[in-house]
């Protein structure tokens, strides 16, 4: 971003100010990091419902008779298994099977897909997809078409159902429908980034503030990027630039389930086959801090005096009231119960490997 260029704003900018948001620069967008406080917003999502503005994310349309085959070759997950009304979590991988971005792929119709990408990578991802389509599929940047609200928490369904059509209680996880919310045309998907039940609502920008206000009136708590990060970390969900990046493969990140290696050829497949044969050199694990302090991204995991790994994300967990995080360690140190030493500003902070996710939402009934 060049000096003096102003930050972009979503259609909900005024709503954020109304709600008392503290705004920060995120990926060139002026976004709410918190309203009443990260801990309070986090707990609202875990116990009731929080409402996030994620309109800054990018949407890419991929259409045409060749769209399925194109996406099947471009991404590691199996696009042929998607029926209209289903989405799946996937990735854009390089030839070395390392991550350009993690993505959601929605199938709207037989020849109509929407790829949702991270805000921080949106322009690059669009170029990546468009430049590889080479007449096989029509690729369009749809990001300006959509505002995106995420309503997350055990009470999300109760708040959304009276406002939405069709009947959103029938939506399965990763299922979506094209209907309305508060009369506004919307794509409603049962997806999220918090580990709770919830919905992501794709809307035309002009309808977003009205739907935002209706959902707040229904009892949702505005929640910002700060809580978004503590929530996804408790659910052990990857964040680009932390757990995944251009030096990381899905196998190292524990995202093996995203890779359908037998589906046929795709970009990065050869590298993944090779890694399957040779084994991974490092493995992503969850850890809990046992000493006093918080381990954060970049802090080294040390053993016998030297660095052997690195923390990718770390925070203080509002649900568990302790410091926890994710780190890359040598595979031989990846078993739950393994003690770790983390170098935090020159001091050794003891931690222990634990199984992930840290948080799993309670089963209903």
């Amino acid at each position: 971003m060049s000096e003096g260029q102003s930050l972009k704003r979503t259609p909900l900018y005024d709503c954020h100010l109304e709600a008392g948001a503290k705004m920060v620069d995120f990926a060139g967008w002026e976004m709410p990091v918190q309203y009443t406080g990260v801990i309070e917003e986090h707990r609202a999502v875990r116990t009731a419902a929080g409402l996030f503005d994620v309109s800054h994310m990018g949407e890419v349309g991929v259409r045409g008779p060749g769209a399925e085959a194109f996406l099947q070759r471009l991404t590691p997950n199996d696009v042929t298994k998607l029926v209209p009304g289903r989405a799946h979590y996937s990735g854009l991988l390089t030839d070395h099977a390392t991550y350009i971005d993690d993505i959601l792929v929605y199938r709207l119709a037989a020849e109509d897909f929407m790829v949702v990408v991270n805000a921080s990578n949106a322009p690059r991802d669009f170029e990546w997809i468009a430049s590889r389509a080479a007449g096989e599929a029509e690729v369009t940047d749809e990001s300006e078409r959509y505002a995106l609200l995420a309503l997350q928490g055990p009470r999300a369904l109760g708040m959304l159902a009276p406002l939405a059509s069709p009947n959103v209680s029938n939506l399965k996880y990763y299922g979506f429908a094209q209907g309305t919310v508060d009369g506004a045309p919307a794509l409603i998907s049962r997806t999220g980034y918090t580990g709770e039940d919830g919905f992501e609502i794709y809307l035309a920008p002009e309808h977003a503030p009205g739907v935002w206000r209706k959902l707040l009136a229904a009892g949702a708590t505005p929640a910002g990027l700060g809580a978004r990060d503590t929530l996804r970390l408790e659910a052990a969900m990857a964040l680009y630039g932390h757990e995944i990046d251009e030096a990381t493969t899905p196998f190292e990140a524990g995202l093996n389930w995203v890779v359908k290696i037998d589906k046929g050829d795709f970009l990065g497949r050869d590298a993944l086959l090779a890694q399957k044969g040779s084994g991974i050199g490092r493995q992503l694990v969850g850890f809990e801090v046992r000493g006093r302090g918080i381990a954060r991204q970049g802090h080294a995991v040390v053993s016998e005096g030297g660095p052997v790994g690195v923390v990718t994300s770390g925070t203080w967990s509002p649900t568990f009231e302790k410091a926890l995080g994710l780190a890359y360690v040598p595979p031989e140190m990846a078993a739950p119960g393994t003690p770790l030493a983390i170098d935090v500003r020159g001091k050794s902070l003891p931690a222990v490997v634990v199984a992930t996710p840290f948080y799993k939402r309670p089963k209903p009934g």
């Binding site: 918190q34 406080g37 503590t230 006093r292 918080i294 954060r296 203080w316």
Partner: protein, 128 residues
């Protein structure tokens, strides 16, 4: 908002003089920037520090801030209440949220510190 009888540093610490002791804490501005405090690490009683040494750290969910001492001296008391209940720093940074008491060795260090009005201007200017 900012007590008139305190002195303030550019790093958002405040000092209250009690005879030969300084009571030290962080300001309302600092706690607001940090967010909800979850850990406070303070020095031990008896530790001796130079001007601008790092005394300890304050951690919130999303950030860690080092606390520096504007004065050289010896730590004579530490606020255990804040260690046990870090939220005190957010609730009452200027009184109950005090961090340490230092017996300071020279009043010269105090000369470069700001009075309340100056500190208020400093935080409002956007340079803080």
């Amino acid at each position: 908002m900012y007590p008139r009888d305190y002195l303030y540093s550019r790093e958002h610490e405040w000092l209250r003089i009690e005879d030969d002791l300084c009571v030290l804490g962080i300001t309302e501005f600092a706690q607001h920037e940090l967010g909800e405090v979850v850990f406070v690490e303070l020095p031990e009683v008896g530790q001796v520090f130079d001007t601008n040494d790092e005394l300890g750290t304050i951690e919130s969910v999303k950030a860690v801030a080092e606390v520096f001492t504007p004065v050289a001296g010896e730590v004579v008391e530490v606020n255990e209440a804040v260690v046990d209940d870090p939220e005190l720093l957010n609730e009452d940074p200027h009184v109950d949220g005090w961090l340490i008491k230092i017996r300071f060795s020279s009043a010269d260090d105090l000369k470069s510190m700001m009075k309340a009005e100056e500190y208020e201007e400093y935080v409002q200017s956007g340079e803080a």
